[in-house]
């Protein structure tokens, strides 16, 4: 069917894959033991806002839902737009499992209302205990895979750390095998 779709020029919007996210808390333990990286307690979901009343309604419902959930769990919530027109819902909670649950709430709310294709990625902050090395784990919805992104000042990446993280994670998480898809996210609003 893929051939026919290409022939007829009707590529379908790719749906998001939300399942692999729940493997993250387990992998975090491996990451701490293997690479000395701990969750910083921050995460963000990035999506492309669509136009129209459908998305506006979904968006306001989402804000309400999140406000409630955040209040219950005692975590923090912020919304930012970046210079490329993508929206980031930034969540903060010291407990990684609660963070994943909140991120999943954002995902599933968007997906249920048909906006799954708008999801770009979600980002989880990790850092060395002494506050030195910083490494983010990026989840690609369309691939259902994670990849490490270690930004350094001056739009540089610490490739060595990233590859070390990949080696550490091994089979605990589905890591994106295609290195060209480990794209940079400069100015992520996640510590």
């Amino acid at each position: 069917m893929k051939f026919l779709d290409a022939l007829l020029g009707r590529s379908k919007p790719k749906q998001a894959n939300l399942d692999a996210l729940f493997a993250l808390p387990g992998a975090a333990i491996t990451l701490e033991a293997g690479a000395g990286l701990r969750p910083t307690g921050q995460a963000a979901v990035c999506f492309k806002p669509a136009s129209g009343q459908g998305f506006a309604t979904t968006s306001s419902e989402l804000t309400e839902l999140l406000a409630m959930a955040v209040k219950e769990a005692g975590s923090t919530l912020g919304v930012e737009e970046d210079k490329y027109g993508y929206r980031w819902v930034v969540l903060g909670d010291p407990d990684l499992e609660d963070l994943v649950t909140s991120v999943h709430l954002v995902n599933s709310t968007l997906e249920e209302r048909g906006f799954g294709p708008q999801l770009l990625c979600s980002v989880f902050g990790f850092g060395a205990a002494d506050g030195g090395e910083r490494c983010l784990l990026v989840y690609l919805y369309k691939r259902g895979t994670f990849y490490p992104f270690a930004p350094r000042p001056g739009e540089r990446r610490d490739n060595e750390l990233e590859l070390r993280v990949r080696a550490t994670l091994g089979s605990d998480l589905p890591v994106e095998p295609d290195l060209t898809r480990w794209f940079a996210l400069w100015g992520v609003p996640v510590a």
């Binding site: 022939l7 590529s11 790719k14 998305f55 309604t57 419902e61 048909g114 906006f115 294709p117 770009l120």
Partner: protein
């Protein structure tokens, strides 16, 4: 199960399929006529296949070279790269190479026979003219061309048309030389002349029809790319505003530049036509602006439905 807000445009798909069917039918008939009339088509077909091969495998370099596009690294054009990065992650496709062409014509094109060797190129003109979100919409349109493998489809679709045109030319030259080459007996000459006439006639008809059909196919594929691009960025009106800006500008550009760019029209975002050059819509490689805007408005409507 997740659902999409966008139903497939059945009308567009079936019109495209019908056009392809007609093209295929035309070619089958043409080849049959050739085989019946000329006993030795092998040479012509070999040469034509050579053309096809060359165009198919070097299309990316031909187009880039003709537009003087330079492939740029993420360091040279960080913003353009980042936009393409994110669009590819949204659409789940491999990232094509990114190129910039030094040209004031506000345009963009995609080339390459498959997504792995594709190049997406924007002119400096379009990057100056459009706002960042609009440029992103244009890139989404071009990435849809890549995802739909439009270069491969159009190369193959236009191939037999080219072959027919080639046969017409060959036959005309052949006929001219044949006129001087006496020495054979009259009967043979007359039947050869009839065969050549028949081949020229058939080729001319095939050329004319395939020209119209490939143009129609090209228009449908533009509409498809508009549709997929608009759905990808989730804001059809951005693509619409980019289109109006670029099309409005096309008319005000000096003629000579535009002529230089015309052979590449099939891969362009908006066709570069000289001002006052009014082809009937039948010959156009791109649908009219009104038609494209109307489709985008309809997609905007689909999006607007409440959740």
């Amino acid at each position: 199960m997740a659902r999409s807000r966008f139903p497939t445009d059945v009308g567009l798909s079936s019109r495209m399929l019908f056009t392809m069917f007609l093209l295929g039918l035309l070619y089958v008939v043409f080849v049959a006529v050739l085989i019946v009339v000329v006993k030795n088509v092998v040479l012509v077909v070999l040469i034509a296949l050579g053309f096809l091969f060359f165009q198919y495998f070097f299309s990316d370099r031909i187009a880039l070279f003709a537009m003087r596009g330079q492939v740029v690294t993420p360091q040279q054009a960080p913003e353009l790269h980042e936009m393409v990065d994110r669009l590819c992650a949204l659409a789940d496709m491999p990232k094509p190479r990114v190129a910039i062409a030094e040209s004031d014509i506000p345009n963009a094109f995609a080339t390459g026979r498959n997504p792995k060797v594709a190049v997406v190129c924007a002119t400096t003109g379009i990057m100056r003219k459009l706002s960042k979100p609009e440029l992103e919409a244009v890139l989404a349109h071009e990435l849809s061309h890549v995802a739909h493998r439009d270069v491969a489809v159009m190369t193959i679709a236009s191939f037999l048309g080219l072959l027919a045109g080639f046969v017409v030319r060959m036959a005309i030259y052949g006929g001219m030389y044949g006129g001087f080459g006496g020495g054979r007996d009259d009967d043979d000459d007359r039947s050869t002349g009839a065969v050549i006439l028949l081949v020229v006639l058939a080729s001319a008809i095939v050329y004319g029809l395939s020209f119209l059909l490939t143009r129609a196919l090209s228009r449908y594929r533009e509409l498809s790319a508009d549709r997929s691009g608009a759905i990808l960025i989730g804001r059809p009106s951005l693509l619409a505003s980019a289109l109006t800006k670029v099309s409005g500008d096309m008319a005000r550009i000096p003629t000579r530049d535009l002529r230089a760019a015309e052979p590449l029209n099939a891969f362009f975002f908006a066709p570069a036509l000289a001002p006052g050059f009014s082809l009937s819509s039948l010959f156009a490689t791109h649908p009219s602006l009104e038609r494209r805007l109307e489709q985008l408005a309809r997609i905007e409507g689909e999006l607007g439905r409440r959740a």
